[in-house]
């Protein structure tokens, strides 16, 4: 027999510390970065690691470490925007669709059907291609892509919840539908949505990086992990760290949020503990 005491809590702790570390790096970037992220110094083109450039410098002689640190800001901020907007919109639409039923539900469900008919990244690619590239548009595109998933989830949870006694009681008391939906049902749906949005956070970091990798994401000279990776790829054969470092940063962030999602799931849904 093997005991795994508090394994779930340990995962949650590790994940939260990793996330906290990432956020700290992003917040403190101006204080700890050795150089401004956009300071061009053509004499340091492809400089190897040194005291001045702990991780070396890129083609324009910009400090890799500084760009990584600043890059976490745009990467995390963009992912946050994607998740926040898609979760908010998806939750509201899901609640409304699930509680209202009827025509509203039918129409919303058809819209989700159409959006879900596209593989996620493909849809994002199409949206960015038609509204133009840039970080803002990439964020909008991914938010649109993530809404139906969240909305579907919330809708099915709402359907279950609205048949429970507390909702019937609230209806019997004559509360308004919006009060029932947003004050009574929403909090019960929240834990699952929180888990889903944490996992979506991980996915949106990956998807944003993919868009940047295809040249559809952030604009230069802004440091962004996906864009740095895409740029560094051109120098892969002789300066691999320019691509590998941001790649590993992306991976670390995604691992952190995936772990956090796992940990939260275990916490909120002990039935699946260890599974």
């Amino acid at each position: 027999m093997r005991r795994r005491p508090k394994a779930g809590r340990a995962v949650l702790l590790a994940a939260s510390s990793l996330v906290a570390l990432l956020c700290l790096g992003a917040l403190l970037a101006p204080a700890i970065a050795p150089h401004p992220p956009q300071a061009i110094d053509l004499r340091s083109s492809f400089a190897p690691p040194s005291q001045d450039h702990p991780l070396g410098a890129d083609k324009l002689g910009r400090d890799l470490l500084s760009r990584l640190l600043y890059g976490s800001r745009s990467t995390l901020l963009a992912a946050l925007l994607v998740v926040a907007s898609s979760t908010l919109l998806g939750t509201v639409l899901g609640l409304v669709s699930g509680y209202a039923g009827g025509l509203v539900d039918a129409m919303l469900s058809r819209i989700f059907d159409v959006l879900l008919a596209f593989p996620a990244l493909l849809l994002a690619l199409l949206i960015v291609a038609s509204v133009g590239r840039g970080m803002a548009n990439a964020v909008i595109a991914l938010a649109v892509v993530y809404v139906p998933t969240i909305a579907r989830l919330v809708r099915s949870l709402t359907l279950v919840e609205s048949r429970l006694a507390y909702v019937e009681a609230a209806q019997a008391l004559g509360y308004s539908s919006s009060r029932i939906v947003f004050v009574h049902i929403a909090p019960n749906v929240a834990p699952v949505v929180l888990v889903q949005s944490t996992i979506d956070f991980a996915y949106s970091i990956l998807d944003l990086a993919a868009l940047s990798f295809l040249g559809l994401g952030v604009q230069p000279p802004l440091a962004d992990w996906g864009a740095m990776l895409a740029e560094g790829r051109e120098y892969l054969l002789f300066a691999p760290s320019l691509a590998v470092a941001p790649g590993l940063a992306i991976m670390a962030a995604v691992i952190a949020f995936n772990l956090l999602g796992d940990g939260l799931q275990t916490r909120f849904d002990p039935g699946r503990r260890g599974a």
Binding site: A117, L122, A129, L206, L236, V244, V254, I255
Partner: protein, 312 residues
């Protein structure tokens, strides 16, 4: 069964129609002027541009262009590429084999590795095998396809010279070698997810009373695991396979771009980058149809595996 299939297929029609219209309009929102792009980024005359517009009906209204396109699409003619002067249907047909083989190899790699690993991890829950498999799956789930792709090229082709870095072979057999690295890169994500699904499905299944019944029958462990538990453990895996293939379809865009493969993914990226509307439209319609059909197929497959659904 046939009536059911027909009904499900019929339900796809409105979804496809709306999706195709969205794609058509989206392609026309782009700031690019296809006539100018087709002229090749060179000085050219208004007469040539007008001729190009007339040839590709770009001078007509959007609804009229859409109807023209849909009419053709119903007959299997998705129009002609603006940039490469070929029929879109022919282009898709020419590039489909590479993508299909890439996806098939990825699915095979993912499942052949994931299922045994998942079973092993589930049966030895908490052991080092389980911990290693679970941690690696987390890493695989979190690593971007394009990162593993370029690292693979750097290590296995450039440094070690074991595997070809680029392109595809002339036939299926040659492609097994050429597509090995791309399909592994593409498979990692699905492998990790499938491993997790198999593991949790297996753990779940092994807890079920019918497993205890099987134990009571005095069946050997092998039979219990493979005959009684695995089938049930794979049910959730089947449900997500449709979604997984969607991931793979998206993934091919990145992988083919990285490995220089002439499949549908790189065709799409190039078409988007060069505003080749007919290709973007036609290919998207094709991919969406394929995606929907695969999901339908998965539903049917689920029914075949699970008698409770089949007869419902």
């Amino acid at each position: 069964m046939l009536a059911y299939l027909a009904r499900r297929l019929l339900q796809l029609v409105p979804v496809l129609l709306v999706a195709s219209f969205l794609v058509f309009v989206a392609a026309r929102l782009t700031p690019q002027d296809p006539a100018v792009v087709m002229a090749g980024g060179r000085q050219t005359s208004t007469a040539v541009l007008e001729a190009i517009r007339a040839k590709y009906h770009l001078d007509e209204s959007v609804p009229s262009q859409y109807l023209r396109w849909m009419a053709g699409a119903l007959l299997g003619d998705l129009g002609e590429s603006y940039r490469l002067k070929q029929g879109v249907s022919a282009m898709i047909a020419a590039r489909l084999p590479v993508s299909l083989q890439l996806i098939a190899m990825s699915v095979a790699i993912a499942l052949l590795a994931a299922v045994p690993l998942g079973i092993l991890a589930a049966l030895r829950k908490g052991s080092w095998v389980d911990i290693l498999a679970t941690s690696l799956s987390l890493a695989a789930l979190s690593s971007p396809v394009f990162l593993t792709g370029i690292l693979g090229i750097l290590l296995f082709s450039y440094t070690l010279g074991w595997l070809p870095a680029l392109g595809s072979g002339r036939n299926f057999a040659e492609n097994l070698r050429y597509l090995l690295m791309p399909s592994v890169a593409l498979a990692l994500n699905m492998l990790a997810l499938s491993m997790r699904m198999t593991r949790s499905g297996m753990i779940e299944a092994m807890r079920r009373p019918y497993i205890q019944t099987a134990i009571l029958k005095g069946l050997p462990r092998r039979t219990i695991v493979l005959k009684h538990a695995l089938r049930n453990a794979l049910l959730p895996l089947v449900t997500i396979t449709g979604l997984q293939i969607g991931f793979l379809l998206s993934g091919t865009v990145l992988v083919e771009y990285t490995f220089g493969l002439g499949g549908l993914g790189s065709l799409l990226v190039n078409a988007i980058q060069t505003s080749d509307y007919p290709v973007v439209q036609g290919l998207t319609l094709f991919i969406v149809s394929a995606f929907l059909l695969i999901n339908l197929l998965v539903d049917l497959l689920y029914g075949i595996i699970d008698p409770r659904i089949r007869q419902a």
